[in-house]
């Protein structure tokens, strides 16, 4: 498929999200779409997939202009869209979700469930997901849900697949597998539009790039002609120094204990023990299904522990009430922003204040001035792009929503932060700012439990790294010990077998 989008403009009320943007994708090409948070990438793709109409401009496919695009029409044109936010029906089974809107039928009226199940399972297996196509989606964890979204796009013979930050919840192994599938499809002249804030990914899989900034087209070209540094500067529009943040920081002496977990057991993990010290950054990592997802929520009192204890300096924690955990000085930035983070009907300001209200604000009445000042501070610190903090949070781009969630927790000034994939969807520049922030927090004597599956993050931040495999700690590595290969080996269990 040859796609051209010409002079696309789109406004949301006073916000001009796209201004006269043109770009094109050739057949059998993987096209990287780059831009800061709020640059308009998702909006452009939404126009292409018919989620909403453009204000002006044309979409031309194989030389023919398409008018009045709708999700259905774009499906019929063999365009698939993997959305930035999860869009699955939690109550339906995996295969039903995958075929939603395009069921196989037999005898004219019946859904051919068996055929759907076989086909869905084939695709899931080809991606090495280990997901059973007949499970109900609500039982999957965030990474698995994302894999289902991807698998869904691979079911049918598509000609253009749009991937809007498909890898935010995936680990490197899953990403590798995804890339090999993409390459194979590319051979069959399927085109891709690939949106990501992870530079290495873009450079390894994409052929061409287009950069957007503030809703405007900046530049197109071949990845082979630029480097990461150059790309980053293109999209933020100024010079960028990607200093390694971590190198400046000395490993903290094993000072006071701030959090100690003993023999924690939950539905998907067991016997987890560790001690977190003041000023320390500890990273937890593991493949999907390794239990990291639930461990993070359990440490915060949000999932039930079936055994074990968590204590702070002040003694054992009662893990039954999240608010008590918060008041003991623990904060958690949850993963899966759409389901667990944002409150779509509330303003940006209220979204920002919520955790502060429950943990810190001891009067029943709210002081507007104080609330506004708090938000202003966070806005500056995290460079959140908002027009009015009274707007709904859903009017923000994905990355900016994530920043509001971050700010919600940073305001608490907790002693311990559990950060579960906190850079989900955050752009390159801002990511560095956040790493810097995490290190700063540590230097102020706060401690961080960082859950991630991206090696660069581990590398940037970790003082120590725990790798989970099948719900147990398979390795505890110090900064000197870990490497990408070793972590991978530990998280797939091969490492342990080698030891035996």
């Amino acid at each position: 498929m040859r796609l051209e989008m010409k002079h696309i403009s789109k406004s949301f009320g006073p916000v001009r999200a796209l201004k006269d943007v043109s770009f094109d994708v050739q057949s059998g090409e993987i096209h990287g779409l780059l831009g800061e948070n709020g640059a308009g990438k998702t909006t452009l793709m939404n126009v292409l997939a018919g989620t909403f109409p453009q204000d002006s401009g044309n979409i031309i496919i194989d030389g023919k202009e398409v008018f009045g695009m709708t999700p259905k029409k774009s499906n019929d044109l063999k365009i698939r869209f993997i959305h930035q936010e999860l869009n699955l029906c939690n109550d339906l089974k995996v295969y039903q979700n995958m075929f939603l809107g395009e069921e196989y039928s037999k005898h004219g009226w019946k859904v051919d469930k068996e055929r759907e199940l076989i086909h869905a399972q084939q695709v899931l297996d080809s991606m090495n997901t280990g997901i059973d196509a007949s499970t109900v989606v609500s039982e999957l964890d965030t990474a698995q849900k994302q894999l289902v979204e991807i698998a869904r796009a691979l079911l049918f013979e598509s000609e253009l697949i749009i991937m809007d930050e498909p890898t935010t919840a995936l680990n490197s192994k899953e990403i590798e597998k995804l890339f090999s599938i993409m390459s194979a499809l590319k051979e069959k002249s399927v085109s891709f539009i690939y949106i990501s804030h992870k530079m290495p990914e873009l450079f390894s899989i994409c052929d061409r790039y287009t950069v957007l900034r503030d809703g405007e087209f900046i530049q197109s070209g071949f990845f082979k002609d630029i480097n990461e540094q150059g790309a980053t500067e293109l999209l933020i529009g100024k010079r960028f120094v990607a200093a390694t943040i971590r190198s400046a920081r000395a490993v903290p002496a094993t000072s006071g204990m701030v959090l100690k977990a003993t023999n924690l057991c939950g539905a998907s993990f067991k016997d987890i023990s560790f001690t977190l010290h003041q000023g320390e950054i500890v990273v937890f990592t593991g493949l999907q299904g390794s239990g990291t997802d639930e461990l993070a929520t359990s440490l915060f009192g949000a999932s039930r522990l079936t055994g074990g204890t968590v204590e702070t300096k002040n003694g054992l924690l009662d893990m039954r009430s999240i608010r008590d955990v918060m008041r003991s000085g623990i904060g958690m930035i949850p993963r899966n922003r759409k389901e667990r983070g944002i409150l779509p009907d509330l303003s940006i300001r209220n979204n920002n204040s919520l955790a502060f209200f429950t943990a810190k604000h001891n009067k029943p009445f709210v002081n507007r001035k104080e609330e506004i000042e708090r938000f202003e501070k966070s806005r500056k610190r995290l460079e959140i792009k908002v027009s009015s903090d009274l707007d709904l949070i859903t009017s923000l781009s994905g990355g900016n929503q994530q920043k509001v969630i971050l700010s919600r927790w940073l305001e608490l000034d907790s002693d311990v932060y559990i950060m579960d994939n906190p850079t989900q969807g955050i752009d390159v520049g801002a990511k560095f700012a956040i790493y810097k922030l995490v290190v700063e927090l540590a230097e102020q004597g706060k401690s961080v439990l960082f859950f991630t599956s991206e090696y660069p993050e581990i590398h940037q931040l970790a003082d120590r790294c725990f790798v989970l495999y099948k719900g147990e700690i398979s390795a505890q590595l110090t900064r000197e010990e870990f490497s990408e290969e070793l972590i991978m080996a530990c998280s797939t269990g091969t490492h342990r077998e080698a030891h035996k």
Partner: protein, 325 residues
């Protein structure tokens, strides 16, 4: 080979699934036990068929309500709609002297009534609760105005043959029972075997996701109301045949609450996304059994409401506790 593997997969329903999926049976069996203890004659063939017969009219409505609730909506206009269609149906019967015409009229009128709800919800973007609150009030008013308060009574000429539809039996089984079973089976097939069924749950589960999958959410919602409306039409036809006289002011009143209660105690989540037609069927029977037990046990009439309320809570509780959570 492949088929076998598949069966294995489908059969892999875990214990947890079993208890959540079949918990409405639990409430049902509990209630049955209570009924038999209160009166051993409960299990007579006569009484059993009677439960179905009495449950038929509301039960058919409840099947429509199942779809509506599974898709995350609600319908308060059931009783008024049934009353309106019944009343007009009697008029059609009296003027046309044709059972068939009357039936067709009822079904078409039901479709229209449902369509109106559906269009107001989808085109008007008004919450189903409000739309159907308004149509509930409106249809009752229309029928009162048409009947000027008086009843709509089936003429002598058609009385016997019309009454025989609801009162008659086929192969020893009461017709009303057959109607209820057929509607249940058709609705169950619709929901479990067709695309449309999947769409209903998808809309109830995550409307945005459904829309982005290319499902015409508005069309699905309109169809749901239309299907439900058609069932109300059938229910209205049967009600008219059962009563042979429709009181403008009171006919069908309270049907919406009965239908919703049946759906709820049948284990369908009020939030949408999930639902079990067989559960609704059991729910309808449970409501009937509660009523019968009240009479068998000679519960003081003023306390019936209290006992019914408590039983509904207990029945739902029995299920939700099984659900763990």
């Amino acid at each position: 080979m492949k088929a076998l593997a598949l069966n294995g997969k489908l059969g892999k329903a875990s214990w947890r699934n079993l208890t959540t999926n079949y918990s409405h049976w639990l409430s049902f069996i509990l209630l049955m036990i209570v009924a038999v203890i209160v009166s051993p004659s409960f299990l007579s063939w006569n009484n059993i068929t009677n439960q179905f017969v009495q449950g038929a009219v509301v039960g058919i409505c409840a099947m429509g309500m199942s779809l509506i609730i599974s898709s995350g909506m609600i319908d308060l206009s059931v009783g008024s709609s049934v009353a309106l269609i019944s009343a007009l149906g009697v008029n059609v019967l009296n003027s046309q002297h044709s059972l068939l015409l009357c039936l067709v009229f009822c079904l078409v009128a039901g479709m229209l009534v449902g369509l109106i709800n559906g269009l107001l919800v989808t085109k008007g973007r008004i919450a189903p609760f409000i739309v159907t609150l308004a149509t509930m009030s409106a249809w009752r008013s229309v029928i009162n105005q048409l009947g000027q308060g008086g009843p709509f009574t089936v003429d002598k000429t058609m009385y016997a043959s019309f009454r025989n539809i609801a009162a008659g039996r086929t192969l020893g089984i009461p017709n009303l029972m057959l109607f209820l079973i057929i509607v249940t089976v058709v609705t169950a097939l619709l929901m479990s075997k067709t695309k449309f069924g999947t769409y209903v749950y998808a809309v109830g589960s995550n409307q945005q996701a459904a829309r982005l999958s290319g499902i015409h959410v508005d069309r699905v919602k309109t169809l749901i109301f239309t299907y439900a409306g058609t069932l109300y039409g059938l229910a209205a036809f049967l009600l008219a045949s059962r009563l042979t006289s429709i009181q403008a002011a009171s006919a069908g009143s309270g049907y919406e609450m009965d239908a919703i209660a049946a759906v709820a105690i049948g284990g369908t989540s009020m939030e949408g996304g999930r639902g079990k037609i067989i559960g609704t069927f059991l729910g309808v029977l449970m409501l009937r059994i509660i009523n019968t037990v009240l009479i068998m046990a000679n519960v003081p009439p003023f306390l019936n409401g209290l006992v019914t309320g408590v039983i509904i809570i207990v029945a739902v509780l029995a299920q939700s506790s099984k659900k763990g959570k």
